[in-house]
Amino acid sequence: MSRDVTIQVNGTLVKAKEGDTVLQHLNKSGKEVPQVCYHPSLGAVKTCDTCIVEVNGELVRACDTPVEKGAKVDTNQQDVKDAQGIAMDRILHNHELYCTVCDYNNGSCEIHNTVKDMKIEHQTTPFEPKPAEKDNSHPYYRYDPDQCILCGRCVEACQDVQVTETLSIDWESPNPRVIWDNDVAINESSCVSCGHCSTVCPCNAMMEKSMEGRAGYMTGMDQKTLRPMIELTKNVETGYGSILAISDMEASMRDAKIEKTKTVCTYCGVGCSFDVWTQGREILKVEPQAEAPANGISTCVKGKFGWDYVNSDERLKKPLIREGDRFREAEWDEAYKLIAEKLTGIKESHGSDAMSFISSSKTTNEESYLMQKLGRSVFGTNNIDNCSRYCQTPATMGLFRTVGHGGDSGSITDIQQAELVLVIGSNTAESHPVLATRVKSAQKLHGQKLIVSDLRRHEMADRSDVFIQPKQGSDLVWLSAVTKYIVDNGLHDDSFLNDRVNGLQEYVDSLDKFTMAYAAEKTSISEDELKKVAHMIAEADTVCSLWAMGVTQHSGGSDTSTAISNLMLITGNYGKPGAGTYPLRGHNNVQGASDFGSMPNKYPGYEDVTDDDVRKRYEEAWGTPLSSEIGLNNHQMVDEIHKGNLKAMYLKGEDMGIVDSNINYVHEAFEKLDFFVVQDIFLSKTAEFADVVLPASPSLEKEGTFTNTERRIQRLYQVMDPLADSKPDWKIITELANELGAGWNYEHPSEVMHEAAGLAPLFAGVHYDRLEGYNSQQWPVEADGTDTPLLFEKEFPFPDKKARLYPVDWTEPLEYDAQYDLHVNNGRLLEHFHEGNMTYKAEGITSKTPSTFLEVSPELAEERGLEDGTLVRLTSPYGSAKVQCIVTDRVKGNELYLPMNDNGEGAINQLTSSQADKDTDTPAYKEVSAKMEILKRTGESPLPKKIHHRYGNPQPQIGVNVEAKWKRKDYVFPGDIVRKGAKTNG
């Protein structure tokens, strides 16, 4: 714990926190000191020397000097000012001030603001261009060496925050500048386009291309006019004061044309929030904010740059009604009337349970709430589900069995501070990129240990301290064996188990068969390795377990999730900071879709539909009778359509015809429906089967809330108006309900949230006022607004407040006939999302990753004569897919990897079966085997290798390596010039 000490600042005694740097203290106490390279989210970079102050008689960098008891700090004396002046002069030597015609002149330019604050009128060393061209090669950002002040913020962010380790500064060069990999063009490097560098750049050196020529009033002028203009500005310069005043004025004027709106990302479940800068419908840039609770300054390529789909020509603009072999555009009135008439007719002739409703993890909490209310209250059925059925329901099941809340135990900061992170069946660096950066960085800088269990050598595996590769579907075996070994050797947490957990003996008995020998045989991991893992887990003070689809999408997905939670209970890794279970939610609102009741057995807040008291509460609030029968989940819905029992479906935001398993079977079901309504932003594969298609508005065009993987509820604000005649889902559902006579009067999503919060105790204190801007709440939320960043600190939500060890057994994965000799692992890619409806619309992303591809091992390539670009057909008992190969050692032996990002011939779910998790019906997507035929032996590689990051050449180092700068012959510390008369060489 840091304590307060007394120091002197400019002669006054003040309290300061031990452990802070002098700069941090000065910033907190409002003393203004220049600090160009310092960024609160990056810490001290130590390159710019502008924060020099005097401490105990020495001129030092305030950012690099810890607060010590009795220290005397002077920020005012002339020597300090002179040293800072020299530092700033060196910066201006590297950066031309043409603020008024600079796209970065938006009030936040550190150089502009520092020149102004320091009242600098002239520079001693004139600006000098660097002998390197502007690098425009990357589709989304460019680097201008002439404007680069070599502060190294971008390098720090790339090396130590994002940890892709692409950027460095070549301090050895006569003219240092930022370089990519070993000095290649940006677009040809290992850069993953996460955008960190352009986000943290203090000036216009590293800038989003979408800003260029658009941000200012005069920045869009022809290059031939711009250059003389810059010269003119410089020539009339009477001192920077007047020039900066004009540019300040211009910067304020920009507020009139640039809108900055906070939103929450619509891709994965990490829940990044950021400001979107727009002019009309045009997106200037995505600007992450340090105060964003889940991500701070971080983004991945999709959140930073993947927004073109919003303005895509393919967006649906009007309701569509099926007529013969084509859709006819119609007005909303006609569409609503038709839907109301058809659905009412089906309900009257076949009963309520002939209807079904599917909600989406892409839509908001409020929209999930309204969808289940529509199904339950207006149509009287519990046949309502959402796509978490395809991914995370088994994890939720495993947690309900053992600890009682179906969500991450803590926050991303807990994962960051854990002593050990255990990643099972999760390609975190690609599926949850920003969350993965916290693990990569903690491991790189703070000694966090990382164990990865996966079939495939992905980035996390590559970085891990221990990487185990169990046979597919056998995670439960090694988890149980490790747990048994821990108990057998007395390494378990006795007092935690005594005080807070039930069922120890029964559980330990159930582990009998999971001996080390048995595990080694079934998983093919050696006993030694298993023991090592057991010791690491048992001996770490805090362990976070992260898992994803590699665990859940199996026949025993719920059981394996349970086994993970059991292991965490046995080792006491619950209810304390830096510990717990973290099923990483895959979509922006997959957590919220279930939280707000789009489930066949649960009301919002996970209360049972079979519970009479709960049901009565909803019946009274909604004023309609409600069904007490558990409804169908979406897997069962497909079966019931085939059986002829389910006649109508209303589905929103879900391309079920691509993302469900065994899609041929699903398509046949769609064809059998009497009436099918699909609400989407595109004419998706699923929508092609619809009778009526309703044009919805995506996240940027509406308000609402999303709940991320940390159970964190965050508001999104409307960035732009709905396109054409499209409408937000909440509005469509409300208007349809009213067409059916429901009499709902929601004018704003807040009214929906407040109704839900009034009914579901889990969300009692959730309120839009408490969620303003970047504020957020992590459920459970008490009525007074107190939220719960860390679960189970005092109790588990069971009647006796104790957790439960829950015995589980191994379900062996689906066996295939010998002819299906290749296992087809499948999952995500960093740069595309799911079937790709959204990300393939981003030209820049698609230029670097144009399509999906099949990863084959070097061994298999050798054996079958495969090479990059070979076109193959994979055939499983359920269907076939056509795709081109990439040979890579990320996979081994007969193991293949097919990213799920295709909705045509390469779509993985043409191969998957209807086999599912025995407890939740989540499809066993990962249990697929196929045989391979070669269709065309040679072809162009499906990845443009020259410009694709997976072929880059990262250059890991810690931070910007400022020591190398200090060693340069031409570097003299400004303090030494002022005090010791050292000569300046710069």
Binding site: E231, L232, T238, S242, R328, E329, E688, D691
Partner: protein
């Protein structure tokens, strides 16, 4: 049996319909902003009358070219100097302390007023008169003020220069 389809038949919107919708939208806006519309029209009418509208039209329709010409022109040395002088002058004006200047200005005003009474006096001031006049408290005060002014003018100002 609902087979998958992708063809979309757009709503036939006739040209007249589209035009009518657009006109209605505009009429609504006009009606909502009556006053602003009237004032704007008055302004445009005067701009038209004075010919300024023509000039502006030319300026904006050929914006890029015009800007280029302006910048090229402004970049000429003498013009750059002019702009620079303007900025300098502006800056210097800002540094004049009017509060301090006021008494001096009042005094000058009085002097001017006195001169105005008889701008071309016949009487001549001789050597002796001059010495005598030094005893006159009004003249003595004037001279003291003048000397102080000259002293101030002689001080170094290099460190305050903006150029």
């Amino acid at each position: 049996m609902a087979k998958p389809i992708r063809d979309i038949e757009p709503i036939p919107i006739s040209k007249e319909q589209e035009r009518e919708n657009a006109i209605n939208e505009i009429l609504d806006k006009l009606a909502d902003n009556q006053e602003a519309v009237h004032s704007t029209l008055d302004l445009i009418a005067s701009l038209q009358k004075s010919g300024i509208l023509h000039i502006l039209t030319g300026l904006f329709s050929e914006g890029d070219k015009v800007l280029d010409v302006i910048v090229q022109e402004a970049a000429k040395e003498e013009n750059t100097n002019a702009i620079r002088n303007l900025l300098l002058l502006g800056g210097t004006l800002g540094t004049i302390n009017v509060k301090e200047l006021e008494p001096l200005l009042l005094k000058i005003n009085h002097g001017v007023a006195r001169v105005a009474e008889d701008p071309d006096p016949d009487e001549k001031t001789g050597y002796v008169d001059l010495v005598k006049k030094l005893k006159d408290p009004q003249i003595n005060r004037s001279l003291t003020v003048l000397f102080r002014f000259l002293e101030g003018m002689g001080e170094k100002t290099e460190q305050e220069e903006r150029n």
